[in-house]
């Protein structure tokens, strides 16, 4: 059976469909998760800053010199970028500590765990009955940074890529490419591609399109793989033009100059032409791989050995019942928690009140005692005063008496004298 491509004789209007899709997507906004892996000091943060022209990793961001990590960490940072009405939620996943220790066995395990957990989240969200919001946090692209030794891949590079090429789109990059002369770069690239083929590593492949022009471009990009990049956001003036680059005593390595490095190729490929394709391949290939593996494991055993919340062997009604029960339980738990918190707060407040009461009591006591002491003091003073007064009065009386006696005696002597 084959379909005839017929041209409509009148204008129907579905040619407008791409515009509708476009408008809907723009309204929805886009999401993209990019993971960067490589030893520290290869310029990963600088490259991210250069690609997205932001300071996601500012100068204050604790660089590896300050981080003393013993194991590989996986850190994610989100940034919202708006350009021309289109909104992109960009998530950058960084892996500090990768390949930095003396013994790097299994340093890829945290990375694998992260990617798998994001796929699992998506699987659960997809299997729910209520799928209104399904955030896509799966890793769409993994940029792997190769140190510019000029020789070939290291055992660590090979191990890592072998383990991750089935789980995520791996794009190998030659970091700090301004270390290599053009000839060295060519030889290095050839050597790397040879080793990648030898070890059967499946890096991200650019899809062929029907357009011949595009195909030519794609072939050119394929020849340049792996891309040799240089990152910088420092603006330097060269021949009157302002360019981003790195200033050396012998010249300026320009980031956006195609003859100096492949940065523009990477940027165009990653952002301008193939972002959607990366997401599609992640969804259609890597995620489906994960999903079928996971579900095959479940159905094989018959018993659900995994912790997935959505058990697909049940009917939707049972699923709904299950979800409702879950929801009720969650509510109950929240209620219980809130009650607990409330009780605790009440207790606290009561305790505070008691404390302040006791405090007031104490102060009252204290004041009373003070007053009593003052009162006693005053009493004492009064007593002293009374004593003094009495003394003084007594003295006055004596004086008076003396005066009287004196005057009496004078009178007596005068009268005696007069009697003579």
């Amino acid at each position: 059976i084959f379909c005839l491509l017929e041209y409509c004789t009148g204008y129907v209007g579905f040619a407008n469909l791409p515009n509708q899709v476009y408008r809907k997507s723009v309204k929805r906004g886009f999401e993209f998760t990019l993971m960067v892996v490589g030893e520290s000091g290869l310029g990963k943060s600088t490259l991210i800053n250069s690609l997205f022209l932001t300071d996601l990793y500012s100068k204050d961001y604790p660089g590896p010199s300050q981080r003393i990590k013993k194991t590989v960490q996986v850190e994610q940072s989100k940034v919202l970028i708006k350009e021309g009405g289109v909104q992109l939620t960009l998530t950058i996943v960084d892996t500090p500590g990768f390949g930095d220790a003396v013994d790097n066995s299994n340093c890829w395990q945290p990375v694998i765990n992260y990617i798998d957990s994001k796929c699992e989240d998506f699987l659960n969200a997809e299997s729910r009955v209520n799928r209104r919001s399904m955030p896509d946090n799966r890793v769409h692209c993994c940029l792997y940074f190769i140190a510019p030794s000029g020789h070939g891949l290291k055992p660590l590079d090979i191990e890592f890529m072998k383990r991750l090429h089935d789980k995520v789109n791996v794009i190998p990059l030659i970091a700090k490419a301004d270390t290599l002369t053009p000839e060295e770069c060519q030889l290095f690239k050839k050597q790397i591609m040879k080793e990648i083929q030898e070890h059967k590593i499946k890096i991200y492949e650019f899809p062929d399109t029907e357009d011949d022009e595009d195909n030519k471009l794609i072939r050119k990009i394929k020849e340049k793989m792996p891309l040799a990049v240089v990152g910088s956001n420092v603006v330097i003036e060269v021949n009157g033009k302002k360019v981003r680059g790195r200033q050396y005593p012998w010249g300026v390595a320009e980031v956006e100059n195609g003859e100096h490095c492949d940065f523009t190729v990477l940027r165009n490929m990653l952002i301008r032409t193939h972002m959607q394709d990366l997401k599609d391949v992640t969804n259609n290939v890597h995620y489906e791989n994960y999903r079928s593996k996971k579900l095959a494991a479940v159905t094989c055993n018959g018993v659900d050995t995994t912790k997935t919340k959505g058990q697909l062997t049940k009917s939707p009604l049972a699923q709904m019942e299950e979800e409702r029960r879950e929801h009720v339980m969650k509510m109950k738990k929240m209620e219980a928690e809130m009650e607990q918190v409330f009780e605790m707060k009440v207790k606290e407040k009561k305790q505070k009140l008691k404390d302040s009461e006791a405090e007031l009591e104490r102060r009252h006591e204290q004041m009373k005692r003070n007053l009593e002491a003052q009162y006693k003091d005053l009493e004492e003073k009064r007593r002293v005063f009374e004593d003094e007064k009495n003394n003084w009065e007594a003295q006055q009386r004596i004086l008076e008496q003396q005066k009287l006696d004196a005057s009496k005696s004078v009178n007596k002597s005068v009268s005696q004298y007069l009697a003579f």
Partner: protein, 322 residues
């Protein structure tokens, strides 16, 4: 001739004796016997070790002299490969041995990758000790001891790596370690200065003494010279064996799309400083420190631990090899 020579004790000599010609006699003798110098390069692959050694001695003396292309796979354990050449300059012959350590730091698990190196160094000391202890000794004991170990630091721009610290900590007491920053054309001048400062601080904090060690400065003159050198270490170097035309001069360099990195231009990198330091001023001192200090430490330890070696003469002067 004719200068009044003042002898010891303040007495003036009455005529010219000719004691100062001893320097000339020594020079003639050493030119006849020639020098031996053993240099070891350590660092993980791709840091330009072989290129640097070739550039230092202006000849194809390293293992990789047959082009850069690496056909051999990275070895599973650290190997020790030494290559010897006799080079001559101005009538002076030098037997230069370059000891390479492929496989260092290249594996996924690099635990104890310094052990083969440590073992090699001690083996050379042991060989020398055995010869010294013999009843009938050779006229000239062949000196295969490692006089200098150049450790290549990866130019990450951040700090030293774990492996760097481990290696230098463990080996700075058996051999003279000279750390250098490899492929310095990766960094701009500011990045280079910051990196150097950070590296020096880390080395200081971990108590790692690289050559020239502070404790072996003989006098104030030495100290001030060495202090200046210690301030600029680790040297940020670039190596190359290709020549290009710059300003009507043929220079060794690396040609990039944005300019030519001149290896011997002090504004571009510190290769010239390293070369002068290593070869023109401190070559002899490196050998002396190896002989008088590192070797003696090894010897003392051996004789104390293992009473098996029979007592040796207390003749302390060894100038047969220097």
């Amino acid at each position: 001739i004719g200068n009044p020579v003042v002898g010891c004790g303040g007495s003036t000599l009455l005529g010219y004796i000719g004691i100062d010609t001893i320097i000339e006699q020594m020079r003639k003798k050493t030119m006849k016997t020639g020098f031996e110098f053993n240099i070891m390069v350590v660092g993980h692959s791709g840091l330009g070790k072989s290129t640097l050694v070739n550039t230092l001695f202006k000849s194809q003396v390293s293992r990789k002299s047959a082009g850069w292309a690496r056909d051999e796979k990275i070895p599973k354990t650290v190997e020790i490969k030494s290559v010897s050449h006799v080079i001559e300059e101005g009538g002076v012959k030098m037997k230069l041995t370059v000891v390479d350590t492929p496989g260092f730091g290249d594996q996924i698990n690099n635990d104890n990758c310094w052990e083969p190196i440590s073992k090699y160094i001690n083996e050379q000391f042991e060989k020398f000790l055995k010869e010294e202890v013999n009843i009938t000794r050779k006229k000239r004991i062949p000196d295969t001891r490692v006089h200098c170990c150049i450790y290549f630091i990866s130019p990450t721009g951040h700090t030293l790596r774990q492996l760097d610290m481990e290696f230098m900590k463990r080996l700075s007491h058996s051999v003279n370690i000279i750390p250098v920053i490899a492929k310095a054309d990766t960094m701009t001048i500011e990045e280079r200065q910051e990196f150097k400062q950070r590296v020096r601080k880390e080395l200081e904090m971990s108590g790692i003494e690289f050559y020239p060690q502070k404790e072996f400065d003989d006098d104030m003159e030495d100290k001030s010279d060495n202090d200046k050198i210690r301030e600029t270490m680790p040297f940020a170097v670039v190596g190359s064996d290709k020549e290009y035309q710059v300003n009507n001069k043929r220079v060794l360099g690396r040609k990039t799309a944005w300019g030519i990195v001149e290896v011997e231009n002090p504004n571009h990198c510190e290769f010239a400083q390293l070369r002068d330091f290593l070869i023109r001023s401190h070559l002899q001192d490196l050998k002396e420190v190896t002989h008088n200090i590192h070797y003696e430490t090894y010897r003392a330890k051996r004789l104390n631990d293992n009473g098996g070696l029979h007592p040796i003469s207390t003749n302390g002067t060894h100038d047969s090899n220097l």
